[in-house]
Structure formats: C-alpha cells, structure tokens
Symmetry: C2
C-alpha cells in the first residue's frame, strides 16, 4: 500500500465510517478476479459509498491524493472491465451499498435506481408496479444498473426495446472533478448542449462514477409466444425476420442458431430435446409479446411461420404449446455458449455487423477462417435481429496445448475475424465493451482519428487518468500499448 493510499483509506474511514472501507484481504479477494477467471488484479481496499454524496466525497479525496479508482458493480464484465490493475495502484469503489430503487412512477414509465441495484431486483420492483424493465441478460442476478449503464448493455430484447442507450432516460454520476452530474429529471426534450448522459453510457467508468439512473419502463407483458423454425440458410432467416418486422412490432427476440451448435446444446443439457423432429442447417427462435392482453402474439407467429413455410423459406416450425415449452426453447438458446465451451478450446467474439450484411458475413467469415486456419471450426449464433452474433473459432481437434493455441493461432484467428468484421462495416465489441481484453484490438482496428477523439474526451474529463485505468482507452499512446 502506498502512503497516499493509506492516508486516503484512513480519511475515508474517518469521514464516512468503517462500513465505507474494506481492507480485509479475504473480503477483497473475490473482487480481484473477473468472473471467468482470466484477469487477476490487486487492490488494498474496497471503498463503498452509501449515498451519492459519499461517492462524491470519495472521488474528491481520491483526486486530492492522486489515487486511481476502479468502479465495480456485480463484477460480471466479459472483458475484464471491472478488474483492478495488477500492480495494486488503484482502489475498488463498489456500489453494493447503493441498492435503493428510489422511485417507480408507473404512469410516467420511469424508475429511478441507485447504481448498485441488481437487474433482477429492478425486474421484480417494476413487475410489482405493473410494469417491466425490458432488458435482460444471463447475469441478471448479479449485474447492476451502474454496470449496465457503463457498458451500454444489450441482451435478448434489443430488437424491440434497444440497448441501455435507449432505455436510460438520465444518468446521475460523480465526474472526476468531484462534481455531481444530475440527469435524473429525465426531460423528454432538453437541448442545452452536449449530452453528458449519453457520454457516460458505455464509458466503462472511465469518465466518472455512475451513482444512479432514470430508466424507461414498458408495460408488463400480458401475453407472449415463442416459436422455433428450421431453415436452410442465414439468408432465409433474415427474410423471415423482415416478414415478422413488417407484420408487427411485437417481436422482441429473433435468435439464429446453427444446427451443429444446437445439437451440441441438446447433448449438453440434461433432459433437453430438439424442438423440431428433423435436422436443419439453421434454426431460429422467435419471441413476440405484448402488454395488451387482447393482442395475439401466438397467432402472429403461427401466421408468419405458416406463410414462410408455404413460400419455401422455412422447412419446419413449431409454436411453443405452453409456458414450460417456451422456457425449454429459451433454455436451449441460453446453453449455447456453455455447450460450445464444452466442445473444446475456442476463441469467442462478440461482434456486430449491419443486419443486412449478417447472412453473408456468417457464411463467408466461417469459410475464410476455416480455410486460413486448417482444422478449426468457425461459426456464429445469437441476435440476428440486432446484427450481433457470438462468433467462435474452435481449435483443431486433438491439439496438445490449449494455452499455446490461445496465445498463438487462436489470437491470430481472432485478429483475422476482427479484420473481417471491420471490412463488413461492423464492430469488434457489440455488447460486451472493450475493457482490458479488447484494448489492443481496438487500437489496431479503429481509425487513428477515432482513437484520438476518444483520448481527447478522456483527457477532458479525467486529465489525471484516475478513473478505471487500463480500460477502454488511455490518456497517452504509451498507456494503450500494453
């Protein structure tokens, strides 16, 4: 611990009370590693403000003592975005004591929540108020509002409701100068200059500490239906998506799954069955829902699928006959990542391209990767409706040393995939962010002018580089070189 750190820790304990500081190594340990266990950091203390005022106090003191801070919510980053630097130079600021849902205004369709509120808790509170917060993802039992804001999180309902960027009506945050930006009035129209809320969304904690957010609610789901279709190609799937979009705005999810990935998931999950009897090269899971109990999403799905079968677009299809069957369909979808991981060492890529470009990308990128790296298996599954798939490259069967493959051919394959994504006009970070993991690739693939703009914004807000160091972008080119 540096003298500055120990002074800071003592001052915070004195000013904010002992609960605001944790220094016990065992208590800190779980928060030093990302949940996949790929990044290992060090930090002599976790600071925990109980209020926005306390958070501002912590930032002011950290600034005074020149101690970097790593904001942390549920620690569910997929890119090492919440893991402190390994040199122990930074302290963690955990938002876990700020867990109050301050207000739900069902009539206005708004919830105001502390940054430390867990997504599942918000779901429950909205439901109790007869409403719904229409964003969800696998980590909903741990991920916090602050983290979701800071990563511009997506998930499986983006097709209809958008990412956090559309669902956040306002942000409250402590900026690096210690001032509190309060956007919680959630004005529908406000043209007083650059939008700081939007700048903080997706900033990965590098421009300040998000302490709360105003979030848009949707009506509670009254009726939903889930369908499953087997088809020959991603092109057919895109055509089917457009038919659904033209028919209704009730479609919430449209997930694309390759036949072989599905087969692995069925084998992987106990008691799982494939939704369709035959084999198909590609599958689609589609969900439609409405807050209006008189709407009929099941009829919509049946009608569109029936005409698509008639048109020769869909080979076979089924509508979930019960809520239990709908859940079973989703369980299959949710187990794809785990099933892929169980199939052997692989590089995973969270990438997006424009929706119309996705079918071609899936087919051509997989072929290009497999040709360039013989023995690998490449493919993608996921949110076709958002132009976002999780694209994996599995190591050749029987390789002796997985770690060596990750560091060598695996890394080369990742760069190759990213180059294909950029060539298709896409993003190498669709919904998981940059964090530590993708910094080098962001630097390699982004136009220099974009990196310069990111650095200039970072320097404008955090000239001392105290906020989440080592993530997203650094002040100086040197800082990004690692």
């Amino acid at each position: 611990m540096t003298p500055a750190q120990s002074t800071l820790i003592a001052t915070i304990a004195e000013q904010l009370g002992p609960r605001a500081v944790v220094t016990d190594a065992d208590d800190i340990a779980p928060w030093l590693v990302d949940w996949r266990g790929r990044y290992h950091g060090a930090a002599p203390a976790i600071l925990s403000p109980a209020t926005t005022h306390e958070a501002a106090r912590i930032v002011m003191l950290a600034r005074e003592h020149g101690v970097p801070l790593v904001p942390q919510g549920g620690n569910t980053s997929m890119v090492g975005g919440a893991t402190p630097p390994a040199d122990g130079s930074a302290l963690i600021v955990s938002m876990r004591r700020m867990r109050t849902i301050r207000r739900i205004d069902a009539a206005a369709g708004l919830a105001i929540a502390d940054a430390g509120v867990i997504l599942a808790e918000l779901h429950e509170a909205a439901d109790t108020a007869g409403m719904r917060f229409p964003l969800t993802l696998g980590a909903r039992g741990s991920a916090t509002i602050g983290g979701l804001v800071s990563t511009n999180a997506g998930g499986t309902q983006v097709l209809r409701h958008g990412t956090m960027r559309r669902l956040v009506a306002g942000v409250e945050a402590v900026l690096p100068d210690g001032s509190v930006h309060d956007g919680l009035a959630a004005l529908k129209k406000d043209t007083r200059g650059y939008d700081l809320d939007q700048l903080l969304i997706g900033a990965e904690g590098t421009l300040g500490l998000v302490t709360g957010a105003a979030l848009r609610l949707a009506p509670r789901i009254a009726v939903r239906a889930v369908g499953w279709a087997g088809l020959a190609s991603p092109d057919a799937a895109l055509d089917l998506l457009r038919r659904f979009e033209a028919a209704s705005d009730m479609v919430e999810s449209f997930e694309l799954i390759p036949g072989d990935t599905l087969a692995r998931a069925v084998a992987h999950l106990p008691d799982a069955r494939a939704p369709l009897a035959g084999t198909h090269r590609w599958h689609v899971l589609v969900e439609a829902a409405s807050g209006d109990a008189t709407a009929d999403p099941a009829a919509l799905i049946e009608r569109v699928l029936a005409t698509a079968i008639e048109a020769g677009l869909v080979e076979d299809a089924v509508l979930a006959a019960s809520e239990a069957q709908a859940e079973a369909f989703w369980r299959l979808r949710d187990s794809l990542s785990a099933a892929e991981r169980a199939a052997g060492p692989a590089m995973q890529h969270d990438i997006s391209v424009p929706v119309p470009a996705m079918p071609r990308f899936l087919t051509e990128a997989a072929a290009a990767v497999e040709a360039r790296f013989p023995g690998t298996h490449a493919g993608g599954f996921g949110h076709l409706g958002d132009g976002n798939v999780h694209f994996h490259v599995r190591a050749p069967k029987g390789i002796a040393d997985a770690e060596a493959w990750y560091a060598g051919d695996g890394a080369a394959a990742s760069r190759f995939v990213h180059d294909l994504v950029i060539a298709a006009g896409g993003s190498i970070a669709a919904e998981h962010g940059i964090g530590q993991m993708k910094r080098a690739e962001l630097l390699r693939t982004a136009p220099p002018a974009r990196i310069a703009a990111l650095r200039a914004i970072k320097a404008a807000f955090d000239p001392a580089g105290l906020f989440n160091p080592g993530k997203l972008v650094s002040l100086a080119p040197e800082g990004d070189a690692t």
Copy 2:
C-alpha cells in the same frame, strides 16, 4: 476580408472549383440574418462542398489558415445558431450542394441522407419507399437534416417517436482535425467507447461539420385520427394523457392549448372555427396513428374521450370527421405562435419540465410572473406529452416602447421564467437549442461543473475554437461573458 480569409477562399476555389465559393455580397446577404431578423452577421464568403471529401478538404484548409467556420443548413434556427459573427471573422459553410438521399432501405427501416437534404424532401422520399420519417416541424420546407441533427430537433411527434437523438442511427461528420467520423453503418449494437454520434447530435456545429446521417424510418401511416377536447385544467389534461398512454401506443401528439390563446388563433385565422361549441379554460388536440391499416385510432380516441367525459375529466370533445377537419384542427394548433405574436409584444420561452410537473408549473408560473410583473399576461401552450411548452409573457397593454420593454422588464421576466423552470427541474432550451440567444442564460442557470464539462468537450474537439464561434459555449469564460 483578412489575408488569411482571402488565401483560403482562393485556395478552395482553385482546389474545389468556382461553385464551391460564393463571394457576391447580394448572394451572401440572405444568409447573414436569422429568419426572425434578430441577429445580423457578416461573412465575406459562403463555402459549399459538394461531397464529404470536399467538406473535409474545406475543414483542413480552414484549420491551416485559422479561419472560423459557421455551418449552415436551412438557416431556420430560432436562437441565432446559424448566423455568423458580426465582425466578419468567419466564413459560412453551406450544405446546400449536398442534397442527395444516398439510400433508402425500407426493409431495414433506414435512410442515409446528405446533411443538406431538406426535411420535406426526406418525407417525400420515405413515402415513395412506403415508409415515413416520423419527425416534423413548421420549418420542414427549409430545415435540413444536418441542422436537425445538430439541434437535436423535436416537433409534434416526439411523444411517440422521440427527438432526433432517437431517430438518428448514425452520423457522418468532419471533425475539427479534418478527419471524417463515419457512423453511417448504423450498427444496432456497438460498444467501442464513447458515442461520437450522440455527442454530435445537438452540438450546434460546435464540434464539427455534420455531412450526413443514417435515419430511422417508421412504417407509412395507414390510418390516423385527430380528436379535440375541452377541459378545466392542465391537471385534467395530464390525466387524459395518461389514459391514452395506458390504452395504446398509437398516440403521436398531445398538445395543450389555453382557451384564450385558442380564441386569439380563431380570430387571427381567416375562416377558422373553434372545434367545440362551448368555451373551455383548456383544450387538448390529440392525434393517434398506425402503420397497420387494420388498427383503429378513431375508435381509440372516441373510447378514451368518452370514458374521460363520463369520469368528469373532459367537458366536451369531438373527433375530426374528415381529413379536412383534422387538418383544420392542426392549422389552429400551428397558428398559435403567430396569433400570440399578433396580440402584442411578448417574450417567448421554449422550455421543458418533467411531464408530471407540467400542470403545476403552468398554473403557478403564470401566476407568479403576472404578480411579479404587473400588467403582463403569461401562459404556455404546446407539447404536454413531452413536458415542453412555449411559454410567453406578453407586455402590459398600451406600453409605449416595445424595444425598451424587451430590453428591460421583458428580459427580467425571461430570467424570472427561467429561474422557475430550473427550480422545477426543467430546461431553458427544450427543442430550439442555445445558439447565440440563450448563451448568457445557460451560463447563469447551469451548474458551473456542467459549463466546465461542456467547455472541456469543446476544447477536446476544437482547441482553436474554429467551429461555429459564439454559439452554445466558448472555450474560455471570457468568450461566454458577452
């Protein structure tokens, strides 16, 4: 003309051809005054790039020669946002030669348009493609896409479709360093750091020159209905709005009109008739629409109005019986500003507060202004559904010198109104921006930390202060003092 200006002009004429430069004083004159005639600027030339590449060339050369640029679209700013400085130090960059709609992809719901495309042209092109760009405003025959992006424009359909911030899927712009930011891929998911598109939206040309945008389209309207209701108070109007919101998402507009303002509009417009037979203290115009021909917005409006009458909330109501009558209702709404202006000298305020706070604000602010400035008449009308009204303070009847009132009591009344807006958690610039007109009031009413953040962003992008000088915010405190 300074030597730097004349060198720049000559170089641009040489490199981009004579059409890229206008120096004839008569041709320039109309573009030196804002459309209300309140701001008078000077500029020795108008530069007109024909392509993004030419726009980048102009920016590079202007930077090299240290000559400020004032981006201009349709010159319809309500706050002097496109008028050059009076000292002639800047050149105008008109986007009028960049007027191509590059692409409309109806299936993807996207249009890619040059910055100089006029809103009405985009409406037509979208309609031809079976789609609709769901933002409109009075100046649609002149206002350009670049200007709409740069002011985060609103209008009368924000309730359902949002402001430009929600309708813009990506921005193309030349940044002050001469690099081109290309966000036109319009990815649905992209988490590669700070969102430059969102930063450029509403930046009033102070962070760069917008050259194009990807815009979200909605299905073409298949059915619409317009209703009119008379009621006793803004509270009743808010209650009615909530009933509509709970009943359907088809409601596009919900406009609130005081009885006396309506009476003036009826008297002002030739051949106009009040929609309802009796007199009411407040009126509401409501429009519902759908792209689905089987939807029934008329039945929705009738049903909700009928139950509201039963509940004693609405005193009287009528559904437009024809498209002509619907247009007549809208013509009344659209003439309110002109009718108010004809009623005598007044200060107008484009303000917003949180929607739930609007009824109380309207009643209390009007009373407070009239008490503090005896003889004035104060009131608001407009987009209740967005929490945005145009709040006017009319000078006492029979004042001798309107100009003296504007400068004296009128200005004091404006500051008083703005203080009330801030106290209600609102914005002094709801949909017209800051421009030149509201700079001093922004500085006076915004927290210093917010001004510091705006300045830091401005400095990060435009350290030489060459982009739209004198608008929104300046680099240095001195620059904002005027």
